[in-house]
Each structure stands twice: as structure tokens, then as C-alpha cells.
Amino acid sequence: MSGLRVQRVSKSFGALDVLRELELDVEPGEFAAVIGPSGSGKSTLFNLVSGLDRPDSGQVLVEEEPAGVASGKVAYMPQKDLLFPWRTVLDNTALGLEAQGVRKKTARARAGALFADFGLDGFQRAYPSELSGGMRQRAALLRTVVLERPVLLLDEPFGALDSLTRTEMQLWLAGMWQHHRWTVVLVTHDIREAVLLADTVHVLSARPATVVERVPVPLPHGERDVTAPEFTAVERRVLGALRGTTAVPAP
């Protein structure tokens, strides 16, 4: 069984070529990070993988089926947490299931079962405004994970957090992933985040985007030390690949 295959995908909007022959393979249980310069078409890639949009050419396969909203194979966590202020935390985390058509009671029970695991126990009846930034992101991730779809798509999930909380959340996600081994595609701007979490870092070029380099992270999960020379070596490789994509020369 394959995870996600993006095969020679091109997409343009009018005269703007956003993606050109982009290739991306993610095995089941693999954590892939996608990193690229701003405006390199990461969100376009996301829309294609989540099935919100169709490629002009090439194809996106999730478990060997073309990606589509109806196939229900990809769970998408947007950049903004998008917790709705009128719903309690429990009801927010159940929203994805409800949107799929699961009955409210069942949806609540399924989401509620994950609260302890996500460090949200005791906040079921709270409203999102009562949560900290990190907790809000955890609730948003819970809403995504509870769908039990084969591929998780995380769009800069920690981009809006302060750096201390972000680090804490990255370590938390690393731990959670080790436990659950979801198939993840993480889009990020943060090199350290990519190297800390991923098995492979896919570096995108500037528009029209294609994958210019795949940097494997040969470090064991759970023991990655951001200050270790092996870690910084990988970071340097990613940075080097990124530099090649922009006009800014290496110093």
C-alpha cells in the first residue's frame, strides 16, 4: 500500500505557472516536510493533495486513488487553528467528523477519547478563547487526527505561535508522531522544525515550483538534538538547497 504519490504535477493560474512537474512520494508512516521560499506554491500543492483543486497535468494519488474531497483520504490542518468560538473545545474537535456526516453524539465520543492523549483533558467544556495558543493548535490537530484518514496534511501548524511555545509544540508533535506513526506532510518555513520532525525534507524551488532536493534526515526520532553537529549538518544541507532556489548568494 502506497501513501501519497504526487506525479509530475503542473498547475498554473492564468499566466502564472505555480507548479511544474512536481514529484513527491510519501510512504505510509513517513513524516515528510516540504519547505520552500515564500510564494513557491506550497498552498497550491496543499489544495491539490487535499483534493480542493485539480492539477492541470500529472496526478495526485492517495493510496493509489486520485485525490479528491469525496475520497476522504486526506485530513487537512490549516495554518489558522480555525477553532470556532461558538463551539466548546470538545465540539470543535468533533467538527471534522460532523462535517463528514457523523452523528454529533458519536463524533463527540470519538473526539473525547483522544483528549487525554492530546493534553486537553479537563477542557472539553471550555471555549477556545479560554485556551492558550499551544492548546488551540493541539485541539486543531486533534480535530484533524480523529478523522483517521490515511494522510495528514499540516500547513505551517505552529507558524503563529511564539518561539517558546513553538519549540514545545514541535517536541510534543515529535513524541505524538513516534507513538502513532501517522503519514504526515508538513509544510513549513522553519528549517529546524522540518529537520526535527521529518524523515525526509523536500525542498521546493521558487515559482514554478518543483522539488529541487530531497534531504533525508538520518537521525533517530526522539533523540534529535538541535545542537548536535549531525543535526546542524542536515540543517545546513537544507539551507544550501534553499539558497540555490533564490537569488541570494551564500556568504
Binding site: G72, V74, P78, K80, L82, R87, E130
Partner: protein, 254 residues
């Protein structure tokens, strides 16, 4: 309770000063009560005629509530239609705006001609005066839904109806209540006005009769009742909002 008291005492104080000044002026200048009765006289005569006033208040209240219910239903229907159909938005919305320029003064007597002196024309006037702020605010609330939120719902496979129900409707509630408060203040006045144009009972026709009988004090008493009704309905919207949107208070607090 304390913030309520804190927001209540300034208007009460201003009102007391105004009423006190009015009382002082009328008694010291010796104004004829058919021209301008003193507040004390209005109160006293209003109280003496309370049975009468009450029996006239009931039909007005009934017209107001029924007319408003009609307006409420129409506003939801139209706002939903506007949200779902771009064609309806283009074709209907400008007409709705234009309809606001039609003077009710001219329409109310026509409604009496068409529908008689009964309940229906009054309900319609109330509906006409309150419909637009409700529908426009509701439609704006639907339209203000976060686009990202809609994408999320769509990626989860929610159809338009389900997304409407799960996100657009609850998200529009604060807008809806803003519109509700604007329109409810028009509702009682609309009913009174419709009665003025022709009715068998109600505060409007009562005011007219008392004016003709030079009972200015009772006109003022009826005006006071009208104002009290409006304020009560206005206050009720806050109560309903608190019940329907319990999350808003917590959000404000944090």
C-alpha cells in the same frame, strides 16, 4: 448584575433630570395641561386610566410580535436565499435596498384599503419597517464567514447545506443580534404608526382619540407605554443573546 447597574444609572439620571426640569417648568410657568401636562399629571392620569391603557396595549403588542415574527421568518428566508444564490444576490439585493426608500407613510393607508382595519395591515407595516435591518445584517453575517473555514469544511466533504448549518449560521449570530436590536426598536413604533392610519383598537388609535379630546396627558401616557414596550423588547434581545450565545461572555472576559 453589577455591570448592568453601572450602565443603567447614567441614562436613568439624565432622564430624572429631564423629567424634573419639565415638572419644574410646567408648575412654575403654569402651563395649561392640554398644551403640556406635567410628568406627575401624566403618571397620575395614566395610572387612573390603566385599565384602558392596558386594553389598548394588548392589540399593539400582538401586532408588534406577530409582525416581527413574520419579519424574522422572511429575513431568514431571504438572507439564506441571498447566501446560496449569486443570481438572487444580484437581482434581489438592490431591490431590497430600494424598498427602504418607500415611505411607509404612503404605504400604510394603502395597506388599510387592501387588507381592511384588522390585524394583517398592522403586521405588514411592522414587517416592512423591521425586515431590512434583520435581513441585511444576517446576509452580511453569512458572507463574513472565514474563507479558510469554508475550505476546511469543504476538504472534509461537507456540502453547502452542512457547511451553512455548521459554520455560516452560527458565525452570523453576532451580526444577527446587531440587526435584531436595530429592527426591534422600530417594531413597536411601526405598529403604533399603522394604527394611526386606521384601526379599531391599539395605542396608536388611542393616542389619536385622546389628542382629539384634548387629553394631552393621556397621549403622553400612551407614549410612555410605547417607549417602555420598545425598551423591554430591546432588553429582551440581550437576554436571548445571552442564552443563545453563551460563548460570547466568556470571550469578552478573557
Amino acid at each position: 448584575m453589577r455591570p448592568l447597574l453601572r450602565s443603567l444609572w447614567p441614562p436613568v439620571l439624565v432622564l430624572a433630570v429631564l423629567v424634573g426640569g419639565w415638572q419644574l417648568y410646567v408648575t412654575t410657568a403654569g402651563v395649561d395641561p392640554t398644551t403640556l401636562p406635567s410628568p406627575a399629571r401624566v403618571l397620575e392620569q395614566g395610572w387612573a386610566n390603566r385599565a384602558d391603557l392596558w386594553s389598548q396595549t394588548l392589540p399593539t403588542l400582538q401586532e408588534t410580535l406577530l409582525g416581527f415574527a413574520l419579519s424574522f421568518a422572511a429575513a431568514w428566508l431571504v438572507a439564506t436565499l441571498l447566501d446560496f444564490s449569486a443570481a438572487a444576490r444580484r437581482g434581489l439585493y438592490p431591490l431590497l435596498v430600494a424598498s427602504q426608500t418607500v415611505p411607509i407613510v404612503a404605504v400604510a393607508p394603502l395597506l388599510i384599503i387592501w387588507f381592511g382595519f384588522g390585524l394583517l395591515p398592522k403586521m405588514l407595516v411592522v414587517t416592512l419597517t423591521t425586515f431590512f435591518p434583520l435581513a441585511a445584517n444576517l446576509a452580511a453575517g453569512f458572507a463574513a464567514t472565514d474563507r479558510e473555514a469554508m475550505r476546511l469544511l469543504r476538504s472534509l466533504g461537507a456540502g453547502r447545506w452542512r457547511a451553512f448549518r455548521l459554520v455560516r449560521v452560527p458565525g452570523a449570530m453576532p451580526y444577527f443580534f446587531a440587526g435584531l436590536r436595530v429592527s426591534i426598536t422600530y417594531a413597536v413604533v411601526g405598529a403604533v404608526f399603522a394604527e394611526y392610519a386606521g384601526a379599531e383598537s391599539g395605542l396608536g388609535i388611542y393616542m389619536q382619540a385622546q389628542k382629539s379630546a384634548f387629553r394631552t396627558d393621556l397621549v403622553f401616557a400612551a407614549v410612555t407605554v410605547t417607549a417602555a414596550l420598545s425598551v423591554a423588547l430591546f432588553a429582551a434581545t440581550y437576554l436571548v443573546e445571552r442564552l443563545v450565545l453563551p460563548w460570547q461572555r466568556k470571550e469578552r472576559r478573557s
